[in-house]
Symmetry: C2
Subunit: 242 residues, 2 copies
C-alpha cells in the first residue's frame, strides 16, 4: 500500500513528524501537495481531501494521511497508527499508551514553540505581534523549554531498560519526534538552545542517535526533506533568541 | 478496580473531560487530590504521583489516571483508554482512530480557549497580560471558535449514521467532551457563544442530548462536579466577552 501524506508543501511543520516515521519505516508514500516530477495532484488534491463532503472522518487541518480506506488526521494520531503498523511503537498496552502520552506532550511543546512567534493569532503576521512574541519567547526559553526538555530527560533517566530510548530498549516514534523538536529548537533559538542543552545530555544523545540512523541520514540528505524556514513552526528570528 | 484520578482540586479544568467519561461509564473512582470525608491523600498524594522517581511512565502534568498498574497521563490518552474499556469508543480501527482524532482537535480547541486569558504565559496572572488577552480573545471569538464549532457541526452533518452523535449511532467519549466545551464557552463568553450557537444547531443539540443523560445529570447535580470558576480553563471575564 502506498500512503498519501497531505501537508503544506513549503515547510517541515507538523508534517515532518509524520515524514520521519514514514522514512524510518521505509514506507512507500507520496507527499501529495508537493507535486514533483510525477504529478501527484498538488495543492488542489489537498484541498479536495480537506473539504471532502462524503467522508465520515473529516480532518480539521493537515497533516492528513490516507492509508487505503482510512483518512487519518492529527499528528499524534497518525503516528500512533504508523507506529503500530511498522514496529515503531511498543506492542503491550502500557507501552502503547505511554508512547501516545509522550507524543501528546510533544504536541504541547511544539504548539508552545510555534506560539513564540505567533502568541496572539496564527492568522496574523509575525510582524503584527512582535512585542507580544518577545514577551512570550522570553518566558518560553527561560521556563517552558527547560521544563519540557527536563521532562524528556527524566523519562530517559527513569527508563528501566536503559537511557538510550524513551521507551524500552529500542526506537519508537516519540524518539523520532524528540529528534525533530531538538533540531527545530536549535534552528529557531541557537544560542538559548546551546546553553540549555548542557543540562539535558540524555536527550541530546538520543537526538544524535536518531540523526545517525541510516534511513534518517539518507532522508535528510535528500530533496524530500524540506529545510526549516520562516514560514514554519520553528522560525529563526534573531531578536527572539534571548 | 477502583480508578484513581489525580487533578487540581479546585477547578473542572482538563480533569472534567476525564470525570465525565468516568461518570458516564458508572466507573468506580476516587478524585484523589480533592480529599473528602474519607481521606484520599489530597495534594501530597498528587505530588507523589507527579514526582515518582521509580515509575517507567512519568507524567508531565495532570490529569493522571491510575488504573491498576497503569499510570496514564494526557487527557486524550486517558479518554482513549477509558473509552475502550467502558464501551465509550468505537471498536473498529477506523472509528477508534477517528475518536482520537476528534479528541485531539478538542485538545487544540481547549488550549486556545485557555489562552484567551493567558496568551503570554500560564505562569503569569491574567492581570499581567490583559491587553494581550483582549487582542487574542477578539480573534478567538471571531475566527477560531466558529471554525472549531463549524468543524464539529460538519462532522455531525457528515456522519453516515445520522447527526445525533459525532461517530456512528451511539455516544462515544468525544461527545462528552464537546458537551463540556460548549458548557465552558457558555460560561466564559455568554454573549459571544449565544450568538455563535445559532449557526451550529447540531452541536448544540448534541450538547443538550448529553446533558440529559441520567448519569451526567446526576453527576452534575452532585458535589463531585466542580463549578466553573476564574482559576480554570474557561473563565468569565466580562471585558473579554466581545
Amino acid at each position: 500500500m502506498k500512503y498519501e501524506l497531505y501537508y503544506w508543501p513549503g515547510i517541515p511543520g507538523r508534517g515532518e513528524f509524520v515524514r520521519l516515521a514514514l522514512e524510518e519505516a521505509g514506507a512507500d508514500y507520496v507527499d501529495v501537495a508537493r507535486g514533483g516530477p510525477k504529478d501527484t495532484g498538488g495543492m488542489p488534491a489537498m484541498s479536495d481531501a480537506m473539504s471532502d463532503a462524503k467522508t465520515a472522518t473529516p480532518p480539521f487541518a493537515p497533516p492528513i494521511l490516507r492509508a487505503g480506506k482510512l483518512l487519518i488526521a492529527q499528528t499524534a494520531n497518525i503516528l500512533m497508527y504508523l507506529g503500530g503498523k511498522h514496529g515503531l511503537a511498543p506492542t503491550a498496552e502500557a507501552g502503547r499508551l505511554f508512547a501516545n502520552q509522550l507524543q501528546l506532550t510533544m504536541t504541547d511543546f511544539v504548539k508552545e514553540a510555534h506560539d513564540t512567534h505567533h502568541p496572539i493569532a496564527a492568522g496574523l503576521y509575525y510582524e503584527d505581534q512582535k512585542p507580544e512574541a518577545r514577551r512570550y519567547t522570553e518566558i518560553f526559553l527561560k521556563e517552558r523549554m527547560p521544563k519540557y526538555l527536563g521532562y524528556f530527560e527524566r523519562v530517559l533517566d527513569q527508563n528501566p531498560k536503559g537511557d538510550k530510548y524513551l521507551i524500552g530498549g529500542k526506537l519508537t516514534y516519540p524518539d523520532l519526534s524528540l529528534f525533530q523538536v531538538v533540531e527545530g529548537l536549535r534552528y529557531a533559538f541557537p544560542d538559548a538552545t546551546r546553553r540549555a542543552e548542557r543540562r539535558f545530555p540524555l536527550a541530546v544523545a538520543l537526538h544524535d542517535r536518531v540523526a545517525e540512523r541510516p534511513r534518517i541520514r539518507k532522508y535528510r540528505a535528500s530533496p524530500r526533506c524540506i529545510p526549516f524556514n520562516e514560514s514554519g513552526i520553528f522560525r529563526h528570528y534573531p531578536e527572539l533568541d534571548g
